[in-house]
């Protein structure tokens, strides 16, 4: 046995891949199959799963409803489609905002003096030392009617003798967007920083030497060379934003419902794991489709992942 292992390269490969394969099976493949099986089931009145094969959960997700007004047998209910659309557009807006905030910051850090660079990176990472939920709650303190932002604006207004009624910021889609952008900013800054930092300084000199001014150097050299960082960051931000429910739960106050909230509530509140599973799979498929088209156009940012 040992003799064979020593001689056979393929046997060695199998053995080395074994832990990962087991891991993937137990923690990814099997739960995924279970979710798929459950999603085709039906909820029993007492909240258990009746294993059968029906598309009811999926048709319901895409708007088929039998609970209609004026006595029709079936009609289109856009509730869940709207939730999916809202999630997509929020993820898209968050990603775009995060890129536009993270890029200048990453650029600034990458071009800073090496001694200061580490300090700036440290400052970017410090919030991650605190729990995600606590950081979202902190935004609640900032955004609410009696929160820090309203207090400060109130002072300024008072000082300028302008009448001021505090803004209703909490429990709005805007608050959710702000929270998402804040939560995922570091995941965009770091890959962009890495790709910018990797650009050889002599390339900037070469561009200048060949007649490019600062703007042209940025557009023709810096930006294309840092795209892998933007791509990697986009994947790191877009996918989790699609699925997260904590930010919308806390800052949206049940006013802003995303797919993540829908799934969570189906499992915990509505006690309908079959519909929750269907929503989970649809979320996964939706995310995969977007990521697939995105990566086909821009790549995976693998240069940055490998480095």
């Amino acid at each position: 046995m040992l003799q064979r292992l020593r001689e056979s390269k393929s046997a060695q490969g199998t053995l080395l891949a074994l832990p990962t394969t087991v891991w993937l099976f137990v923690l990814l493949i099997i739960p995924l199959i279970l979710t798929a099986v459950v999603s085709f089931g039906r909820r029993s009145p007492d909240g258990n799963v009746i294993y059968t094969f029906t598309f009811e959960n999926y048709t319901r997700l895409f708007g088929y409803s039998t609970n209609c007004a004026n006595g029709q047998p079936s009609c289109f209910d856009p509730l869940y489609v709207n939730i999916l659309g809202r999630s997509l557009s929020l993820a898209f807006n968050t990603t775009v905002l995060v890129i536009s905030l993270a890029y200048p910051l990453a650029y600034f850090i990458a071009r800073a003096h090496p001694k200061q660079r580490n300090m700036y990176l440290f400052m970017v990472l410090i919030p991650l030392w605190t729990n995600f939920v606590i950081r979202v709650y902190a935004w609640m303190m900032l955004l609410r009617k009696e929160g820090a932002i309203n207090i400060i604006i109130g002072w300024i207004a008072h000082f300028l003798h302008i009448p001021f009624t505090p803004f209703e910021m909490l429990y709005t889609p805007g608050a959710v967007l702000v929270g998402m952008v804040y939560e995922f900013l570091p995941f965009m800054i770091l890959p962009i920083y890495t790709s910018l930092e990797k650009i050889d300084l002599s390339l900037y000199e070469a561009a200048a030497d060949l007649g490019a001014n600062a703007v042209k150097t940025f557009l023709r050299v810096t930006l294309p060379l840092s795209m892998p960082g933007v791509v990697a960051g986009t994947i790191l931000v877009f996918i989790p934003v699609m699925g997260t429910f904590i930010v919308s739960d806390i800052l949206g106050g049940r006013q802003v419902i995303l797919v993540g909230n829908l799934i969570q509530r189906q499992f915990l509140d509505a006690r309908d794991p079959t519909f929750g599973s269907a929503a989970s799979l649809i979320l996964m498929v939706l995310t995969l489709i977007v990521t697939y088209f995105y990566t086909r156009k821009f790549g995976f940012g693998e240069e940055i992942v490998v480095a």
Binding site: D200, S202, E205, A206, A208, D209, L210, G211, A212, P224
Partner: protein, 371 residues
């Protein structure tokens, strides 16, 4: 070309702040004039100020004091993209995200050249460096030598007045480097543009240059043709840095207008009839310098002048030469003998302990001021 000089540096000083916070002059009052169409090299070991000087011509650094002139025009704080010079970088600095063609076109697009003109000029440049057909490749798909040629073509396609080359062959292996040296020289002669070449490789500088500035500690130690620098070094640093030399400390015993006799205590003898440079006086402490390959070994005392009895202490065969180490009354000297004869017979070598005569020809022997 309006000026006699392609590039001129007048009393240029460049100071940097070291990480310890001290001020250090990387370039220390350098003045040089580089003629149009000249192949000019700056030669020195790392930290001698050669690259900093080049970067000030390119515009990547600005002088702390003094002024750089290109084609007679003071450059001041002119940024690199407004100077009619182009650089071949040490690490090539090719744009990895662009193809070979796009790398070459980059500089022309910045000039606002039309597409068909770009196509024509890029094609010609690629032909010049023998890379025709490689235009669609990315730099990573090329060998080191090919990348080097792309870097060269990218700079030349801009038809600069002056081409700056910062150790462009440093990363290539020896054989390729020697080929490229000759190619670069041929290219420079064919194009007739001024090359300023920075290198730490003395053989490279001697092979290619019309003139060389030997630099050390931010200063020019000697500026001259390869022959002048090798045959008539100005000072001990140059004599030591370029090639190898034997140094004997002595004192001028007698001096005439163009000749001197130097008494060398370590060999307890006088070296006579040596050609001298200006300003030496009788009684001055000097260094007598002679190249190892310019010492003759004779077996008999055939003539009497400048012949010294020596004992062979070691011989080393290195193919082209045999290095013979000798001892003259305690002074250690090295002598390179070219292997013109077959060395297959062990008896063709001097044996250790053998007594020989060394002959120093006055015209090969240099008197240097002690500093």
């Amino acid at each position: 070309m309006t000026s006699e000089f392609a590039v001129e540096m007048r009393d240029v000083v460049k100071k940097f702040i070291t990480p310890e916070g001290n001020e250090m002059a990387a370039v220390d009052h350098v003045t040089m004039q580089i003629k149009n169409g000249e192949f000019f090299s700056m030669l020195g070991s790392s930290g001698c100020g050669k690259t900093t000087s080049l970067r000030m011509v390119a515009g990547f650094e600005w002088p702390t004091e003094g002024e750089v002139y290109i084609e007679g025009k003071a450059m001041g704080h002119t940024p690199p993209f407004q100077r009619k010079v182009n650089t071949v970088f040490q690490n090539y600095a090719l744009f990895q995200h662009l193809t070979v063609y796009q790398n070459l076109a980059f500089g022309l697009e910045m000039e606002g050249a039309k597409e068909d003109e770009i196509k024509k000029r890029v094609g010609r440049a690629l032909e010049m460096v023998q890379l025709t057909g490689m235009d669609r490749r990315k730099p990573k798909q090329l060998s080191g030598g090919q990348q080097q040629r792309v870097a060269l073509a990218r700079a030349l396609v801009k038809t600069p007045d002056v081409l700056l080359l910062d150790e462009p062959l440093g990363a290539l292996d020896l054989k390729l480097r020697k080929e490229m040296q000759l190619e670069l020289k041929a290219l420079q002669q064919q194009l007739g543009i001024t090359f300023i070449y920075v290198t730490h490789d003395q053989e490279e500088a001697l092979t290619m240059s019309d003139r060389i500035a030997v630099m050390s500690k931010g200063k020019i130690q000697q500026l001259g043709t390869p022959v002048e620098i090798y045959e008539r070094p100005n000072n001990k640093f140059v004599a030591d840095f370029i090639g190898e030399s034997n140094f004997l400390e002595g004192k001028i015993k007698s001096i005439s207008q163009n000749e001197a006799s130097v008494f060398v205590p370590s060999i307890n003898a006088e070296v006579v009839g040596l050609p001298i440079s200006k300003g030496l006086v009788k009684g001055e402490e000097v260094i007598v310098s002679i190249r190892p390959e310019k010492i003759h070994i004779a077996e008999k005392d055939s003539i009497n002048q400048n012949m010294f009895r020596a004992t062979v202490t070691n011989t080393v065969y290195i193919g082209v030469d045999t290095k013979v180490f000798v001892d003259v009354h305690g002074a250690k000297l090295k002598v390179w003998e070219q292997n013109r004869i077959s060395r297959l017979d062990p008896k063709s070598f001097y044996s250790v302990g053998q007594e020989v005569w060394l002959m120093l020809l006055p015209e090969n022997t240099i008197v240097l001021r002690k500093d």
